[in-house]
């Protein structure tokens, strides 16, 4: 189901018996639920589990006001076919609008395949839309807007939190929003996601900075990073660097390479620093390490040191 169809449902007040909301854009999802509640004159009840639905089944409201029942991350709804059939049959919960929320939904699952007309995906918004929303709330320069969007990984909910920080800091220090943003980033009060750290690690490895490489590796282990995730990140970082470095047409790098704008931005900032042959060798070593773990040839804890030792 497209988001536009949901908007139409809200405008015409013609709601389905249930919806399945999925996606990483939590803030927009939340606002749609509030909008549905407002338009339908309903209150929102958050249920802890699907078993609580039983008390609402086949009940009628005296006031004839619908309620919205929100259930988050219910494994039973995904796994139990008979339960799901009972819940989703017509008029099972006629005075309620059920909303099942999942951060991610496996596209191979039966739920995804059989309930496409009820599933609404709330994907992360693109840079242009987010810039418009940011500028509605706060006066930031275009560069700072882009930077904020990149730092918050296009998550509107996170952007709102950071805007709140920036506004409060600017108010307390009596400085402009742009200055406040710069200060907060410099003081690490605005958290920068670990993807930069992976590029730093790749940079340290490819420029032969052994102590920095091992120090960053230790940091990633201390933060609980799984080896396979680290290997996947290392591989994709090296691949992005290689693709950006060897692309023939610089006019539309995203289209030429298939990379996201964020990946292109990170890779472009380090373009030309590394030899393509070094990047290829690094990719092969990372891939061999990943294959070795899966075939049992390499111990998982030794996989990344294996890459470093073989590379140097």
């Amino acid at each position: 189901m497209e988001l536009s169809t949901l908007k139409l449902n809200i405008q015409t007040k013609d709601f389905k018996d249930f919806y399945i909301f999925t996606g990483l854009e939590i803030e927009v999802l939340r606002r749609y639920i509030l909008q549905i509640a407002k338009v339908s004159g309903s209150d929102i009840k958050n249920l802890d589990s699907i078993t609580e639905l039983a008390k609402f089944s086949h009940t009628r409201s005296v006031l004839k006001n619908k309620s919205i029942l929100v259930i988050r991350e219910s494994k039973e709804f995904i796994q139990d076919d008979s339960l799901r059939t009972k819940i989703t049959q017509k008029n099972a919960f006629s005075d309620y609008i059920l909303i099942f929320i999942y951060t991610t939904l496996d596209k191979r699952s039966k739920v995804y395949k059989n309930y496409q007309d009820y599933i609404v995906e709330f994907n992360l918004l693109n840079e242009d839309v987010l810039t418009k929303y940011i500028l509605k709330d706060i006066d930031l320069s275009e560069n700072n807007c882009k930077r904020l969007i990149n730092i918050c990984e296009n998550s509107y909910g996170r952007i709102l939190l950071e805007i709140d920080k920036i506004q409060n800091y600017a108010c307390v220090k009596s400085i402009s929003s742009n200055q406040a943003f710069t200060d907060l980033v410099a003081q690490n009060i605005i958290y920068i996601p670990p993807e930069d750290a992976v590029f730093d690690f790749v940079h340290a490895v490819l420029t032969n900075r052994k102590s920095q490489a091992f120090s960053l590796l230790k940091e990633s282990y201390d933060s609980g990073e799984a080896t396979m995730v680290l290997l996947a990140n290392l591989y994709s970082s090296a691949k992005s660097l290689y693709q950006v470095q060897t692309v023939s047409s610089t006019s539309n790098i995203c289209q030429s390479t298939g990379l996201t704008p964020f990946q292109v931005k990170l890779a472009t900032s380090r373009k030309g620093i590394y030899k393509s042959t070094d990047l290829l060798r690094f990719m092969e070593l990372t891939r061999n390490a990943e294959k070795g773990i899966k075939t049992g040839e390499i111990e998982e804890t030794q996989a990344v040191p294996y890459i470093l030792v073989n590379f140097w």
Binding site: Q79, K107, R108, A232, Y235, K239, Y242, Q243, V244, Q245, T246, V247, S248, S256, T257, G258, S276, L280, M283, E284, T286, R287, E290, K291, K294, T295
Partner: protein, 275 residues
């Protein structure tokens, strides 16, 4: 069902003489028709076929159900070689103490993935290989097949599943083959970034749609290389390409292998020898 005459005949005779094994292990490649055989057995026996998943919980549900049923049923478990160790151990129970009313059919692509303990308690049947003519007839029964399509089917497809994958994209068999030849002609001459972008047309995830199957792509690539090798055109180049592609295709058998990185490394290795 096309082909499999010997296997179908064997099962028909077993059903007729009421000596169908209680635990059947069917081995065959993906798309070779194992589920169709199971359906055929169920139809011949005039019994319903119940399919269960291969997770631990599904196998436990199966065990709970097989001992409770009062009328005969046939149960099917697909892809037993990809089961987790816990699920395989749980399956042992029902193979050690067969239920009176249940016949269990399990399918696998690789017999070595089926534990010896489970294997020893069942009867193993292998899917017969398909004749190229049978595959062409199958394709003709479903699609509009030209002479060129027929040549491609004979070169690339091993079973009906491969035929279905070949025609699953919008541009059909000929579009697929022209993509393969285009990759072969250009992989060494384009930039590194463009070479790695070849993977965007290949089905590397289960959820990818309207993309070319990776195994078929490599098989077609090797077939084209073999033709060029036999024609005497730069034999070393094409021989190396066949070696690299064979090695990469074998890696697909490793459980959980990252197909994206496997394909990327294949591209890079081909470019290494051809550039």
């Amino acid at each position: 069902m096309i082909g499999q005459k010997f296997l179908l005949n064997s099962f028909d005779n077993m059903v007729k003489s009421a000596c169908l094994p209680k635990f059947i292990i069917l081995i065959g490649a993906d798309g070779s028709g194992k589920k169709l055989i199971a359906n055929h057995i169920a139809n011949k026996s005039k019994l319903p076929l119940c399919e269960y998943g291969i997770s631990v919980d599904s196998v436990r549900d199966l065990i709970r159900d097989v001992y409770k049923i009062t009328t005969p049923l046939i149960y099917l478990l697909s892809g037993v070689d990809t089961m987790s160790v816990a699920a395989k151990n749980t399956l042992l129970k029902v193979t050690e103490e067969p239920a009176k009313m249940a016949t269990i059919i399990v399918t696998a692509t690789d017999l070595s993935g089926v534990p010896n303990t489970v294997r020893s308690r069942g009867q193993v049947f292998y899917m017969d290989p398909y004749e190229p003519d049978e595959l062409v007839d199958f394709a003709k029964s479903k699609y509009d097949v030209t002479d060129e399509d027929e040549y491609i089917i004979r070169s690339v497809c091993n079973n009906p599943g491969d035929v279905l994958k070949l025609f699953s994209t919008a541009d059909g068999a000929q579009g697929f083959y022209s993509f393969v030849t285009k990759v072969l002609d250009n992989i060494a001459s384009v930039s590194g970034a463009n070479a790695l972008k070849i993977s965007s047309s290949i089905r590397l995830k289960d959820t990818d749609e309207n993309k070319y199957d990776l195994t078929l792509f490599w098989r077609a690539f090797m077939s084209v290389c073999a033709n060029k090798l036999m024609s005497g055109e730069d034999p070393l180049k094409y021989q190396q390409a066949i070696q690299i592609t064979t090695k990469s295709s074998q890696e697909l058998r490793i459980k959980g292998i990252n197909k994206q990185s496997a394909f990327d490394v294949w591209v890079l290795n081909i470019r290494k020898v051809w550039c």
